[in-house]
């Protein structure tokens, strides 16, 4: 569990000691509004991910926090001090970019020590710090190489060491893993997370990769079209998405259009489906039900939320099989169901086979209908 949230059970999502505080932040490029009144609190030592599709404003928000691109309106406070109009050099952060942005004509050691040299520290102190940092990122013997002689993963480690060299209070990571190949990305993900835990440095990472956000962040800020759709722990964002967009963007979800029939009953086509709760929805209202493919169960016998369906397609995805299920009747439903590999082996499902699918009420998420 995330450490900050765990300490205060009363209000798990409002860190008691706000490290970074963003209020009604806006940013426009001409008529285009990249950020629309963003409010966000980030606690000290937290690891936060900004997640969203490209063009959602996550990088714009990061650059505004860094002071690299000034916001149009609103304010940013760091440790309670208003830095809204401070230049980047007065904001106390280190930054790592997707492109690494290592200085190609300087050695690894000179890159890492770049910010230290400017602080007019004595040479041996700089050397000691550089050695320490290179050991920290697992590159103790690469100090005299040039960036071009390193692999992508190594270069990104150097960039990380350089960003941490001046011991900044805030570490900003702008899609740091996107340029790396899959295997390196997985390893570096763990390394960055471990490093952050060890140093306790407040970290914001921008990513469009939901898996990355889910596995690394203590809190995820899901963004779309310049607004924050949801802020929450990975568990919250995945299991209780606040909006249909979040549900769709984080993980896979099947959507069913329906109409509220009772307090917790929704009519979808000619089926009535029970949901666990539907606060704020009233009978007659058009809604959308969302269901994760892995929540669908294939069962025997009739019952509540159990539908007779037929398998139309099976797609092998390694450890599980994604089945496309089609209902019966005049306006049949289509569902996705993820079947674990062992279940598949036991039952030997095949396309065309009739099955009964259970849509557990607790797993059905209800959203207002998208316009």
């Amino acid at each position: 569990m995330p450490n900050n949230a765990a300490m205060t059970s009363e209000a798990p999502r409002a860190p008691e000691r706000s490290f970074l505080s963003i209020r009604s932040l806006t940013k426009s490029f001409g008529p285009f509004q990249a950020l629309k009144s963003i409010d966000l609190e980030i606690g000290e030592g937290e690891f936060v991910c900004f997640l969203g599709p490209s063009g959602c404003g996550k990088t714009t928000l990061l650059r505004a926090i860094a002071g690299l691109d000034r916001q149009t309106g609103g304010s940013i406070s760091l440790r309670g001090k208003d830095v809204s109009n401070a230049p980047p050099s007065q904001r106390d952060f280190g930054i790592v970019f997707q492109s690494y942005a290592l200085f190609p004509n300087l050695t690894v050691a000179d890159n890492v020590g770049y910010g230290l040299v400017n602080q007019k520290k004595p040479r041996d102190m700089i050397n000691a710090r550089v050695t320490e940092l290179l050991a920290l990122v697992g590159l103790p013997d690469q100090a005299s190489k040039y960036p071009a002689q390193l692999s992508g993963g190594q270069q990104q480690r150097v960039a990380l060491a350089r960003a941490l060299a001046t011991s900044p209070g805030l570490l900003l990571l702008d899609e740091p893993l996107s340029a790396l190949d899959a295997r390196v990305r997985l390893r570096l993900r763990e390394e960055i997370r471990a490093l952050q835990r060890r140093l306790g440095v407040t970290t914001i990472m921008v990513t469009h990769d939901q898996e990355e956000a889910l596995s690394m962040a203590e809190r995820i800020v899901v963004m779309n079209h310049g607004v924050i759709e949801q802020v929450g722990t990975p568990e919250e964002v995945y299991a209780r998405p606040a909006t249909a967009f979040v549900a769709d963007f984080v993980g896979r979800m099947t959507f069913l259009s329906g109409v509220m029939e009772g307090a917790t009953l929704v009519r979808v086509g000619d089926q009535a489906l029970r949901v666990a709760e539907a606060p704020g929805f009233s009978a007659g209202q058009k809604v959308e039900l969302g269901l994760r493919p892995e929540a669908v169960r294939l069962v025997e016998g009739a019952g509540e939320n159990r539908l007779s369906m037929r398998i139309t397609e099976l797609e092998y995805l390694g450890s599980f099989v994604r089945a496309t299920l089609e209902g019966e009747g005049a306006s049949p439903l289509t569902l996705l169901a993820d079947l674990p590999f062992n279940v598949m082996q036991d039952r030997a499902y095949a396309p065309g086979q009739a099955v009964i699918a259970e849509l557990p009420a607790s797993a059905l998420r209800i959203f207002s209908a998208r316009t």
């Binding site: 002071g67 930054i95 910010g115």
Partner: protein, 559 residues
């Protein structure tokens, strides 16, 4: 305002803004104000009173001047019509064939760039002039006049047209040719449906560039034009001969028109040219074809031979005792003191001028391009500086020179103490060649990761430290390119500086004009030879230095 408060806190932004403002001021002084002086002079009388378009009316009603306008137009058009097809074919041979020695032929075609334009005119005088050994080939026509101008300009413009055509033909999508072949299209149909349309923007651009180069060139018509008047020589006569500054300004403005037109055509064309080649295109790889390659080789040998011949003729003639009667070797023609009071001084002045232009020009251009490309504050200033940097491209040297005359010569101008000094020559030459150098610098800077400045800011390192420690070392090859470009052009330019030199600052290229005027053609050829050899030596030094820079100081480029 908190924005203002932060402005005073943000030292980096302040420095960048201050530097940009300084640069903007300098460029206004070097480029905009002289142009403005030219414009305003054209609507004033000799007492400086505003007379509207009276000067233009007088121009149109002077038959001799209008005749030069017509002369300029048809000569320039003719040169474009001759040079562009030749350059197209030559470029085709370089880019679309397996002809041997393509690199060498490219280098040969570039040789005219290392000489003042009038060198080819001097060569033509030796070949077809009154004492020329091939005079009979002209069937009684005289080389002094349009024939000589057209031939000499063709040589002078060839490398410019060729560079455009090579660029255009290199941008070919190999897939189009594969598809055409797969469909069984005939070779000639492929040429007319794929090759030619692909290069059409380059062709248009080349035609305009050549037209502008010819119409604004001063050296060639001065040397070989005889009684045949063109706009550029008119401007010279009005200013230097008759001291009629107003009419000179009108001629200058007329010269500005085709250049501005060509500038905008070129910009449009470049936009389209880029769009022509998608990111998925694969480069065209010509297949061997003995017949085609042989024909193209013959053609390139002919053209390349002519270009080398034109250069070689003047060089050879400069070592001849008395053309054509006594062909023994001599170095007498290099004893410049016999022909010109300045003697070798002109050559040394040229070296000094070119050196200063290279040093100051490169520094200003590169720092300026960095500020425009890599700093954040004051988008308006950055845009303004970029605009001023692009402006000289549309201004022929002769026109800029005229503007300088009016500006620096003006009695109200405290800067008129600089008239005729090396300072004004250097300033004018930097301004004249600013655009290409600026584009080179911007192109280089665009290749550098845009986040270097962000990273520096996050590490609390000011941008000027990163500029010194990272940007300049990375960009050394491009910086060297700019310096050599400025040096070679400063050495060979005639048109802008002809109005601006003073008694102690006569340049080698101007000495050539003067010695030719006095009939000392061999000495003129000798001086031109000095310039050619110097320019080529600098270029070779550049290539060697480039190797050294890459090998020694750019070890980090190696993997």
């Amino acid at each position: 305002m908190s924005a203002n408060a932060s402005f005073t806190r943000d030292r980096e932004a302040r420095v960048a803004t201050l530097l940009l403002a300084g640069l903007a001021f300098l460029l206004v002084l070097l480029i905009a104000v002289p142009l403005w002086s030219l414009l305003s002079k054209s609507v004033q009388n000799s007492n400086g009173q505003f007379v509207g378009l009276a000067n233009f009316a007088r121009y149109i009603s002077t038959p001799a001047l209008v005749a030069s306008l017509w002369n300029s137009i048809w000569v320039s058009s003719l040169v474009a019509l001759i040079v562009v097809p030749l350059a197209f074919l030559y470029a085709y041979a370089l880019t679309r064939s397996r002809m041997p020695g393509r690199g060498l032929f490219m280098a040969v075609a570039m040789t005219p760039l290392f000489a003042p334009s009038l060198l080819s005119a001097i060569s033509l005088i030796y070949i077809f002039g009154n004492q020329g050994f091939l005079k009979s080939w002209l069937f009684g026509a005289s080389i002094y006049g349009p024939v000589g101008i057209v031939l000499a300009e063709a040589v002078y413009c060839f490398p410019h047209a060729l560079m455009i055509m090579v660029t255009a033909l290199r941008l070919a999508d190999g897939r189009l040719y594969e598809v055409a072949e797969a469909l069984g299209t005939s070779k000639s149909r492929v040429f007319f449906t794929v090759t030619l349309p692909g290069a059409r923007y380059g062709l248009i651009s080349a035609i305009f560039v050549v037209f502008t180069l010819v119409i604004t060139d001063f050296g060639i018509p001065k040397v070989i034009g005889g009684q045949f008047n063109v706009l550029a020589t008119d401007a010279y006569k009005q200013i230097v001969g008759q001291q009629n500054f107003e009419m000179g300004a009108v001629v200058g403005l007329i010269l500005l028109l085709p250049a501005i037109f060509a500038f905008f055509v070129d910009r449009q064309v470049q936009k389209k040219q880029v769009a022509l080649l998608s990111a998925r295109a694969v480069p065209y790889e010509p297949k061997p074809n003995a017949k085609r390659d042989f024909a193209l080789l013959a053609f390139c040998l002919l053209i390349g031979g002519l270009l080398i011949g034109m250069l070689g003729m003047a060089i050879w003639a400069s070592f001849i005792r008395y053309w054509p009667y006594n062909l023994t070797f001599t170095l007498n023609n290099y004893n410049f003191a016999n022909f010109d009071p300045q003697g070798w001084g002109a050559y040394l002045t040229s070296l000094k001028m070119a050196g200063l232009t290279a040093i100051f020009g490169t520094a200003i251009v590169f720092v300026g391009a960095y500020l425009v490309e890599k700093t954040k504050p004051s988008p308006f200033l950055r845009g303004f500086v970029h605009f001023l940097a692009m402006l000289p491209m549309a201004v022929p040297g002769l026109v800029l020179g005229l503007g300088y005359v009016f500006f620096v010569n003006a009695p109200w101008n405290p800067l008129n103490i600089f008239y005729g000094t090396l300072t004004v020559l250097v300033a004018n030459t930097v301004a004249h060649f600013y655009t290409v150098a600026h584009i080179t610098a911007v192109t280089q800077l665009k290749q550098i990761d845009a986040e270097f400045e962000s990273v520096s800011a996050s590490l609390k390192v000011p941008f000027w430290v990163t500029f010194r420690r990272v940007t300049v070392p990375i960009s050394l090859p491009a910086v060297l390119d700019i310096a050599v470009y400025l040096f070679v052009n400063a050495l060979t330019t005639v048109s802008a500086v002809i109005f601006l030199y003073g008694p102690t600052t006569k340049l080698a290229s101007i000495a050539i004009v003067h010695m030719d005027e006095m009939g000392a053609v061999a000495a003129a050829a000798a001086m031109a030879t000095c310039i050619v050899f110097t320019a080529m030596a600098v270029k070779l030094l550049h290539l060697a230095l480039d190797r050294l820079v890459f090998a020694r100081f750019q070890a980090w480029r190696k993997r």
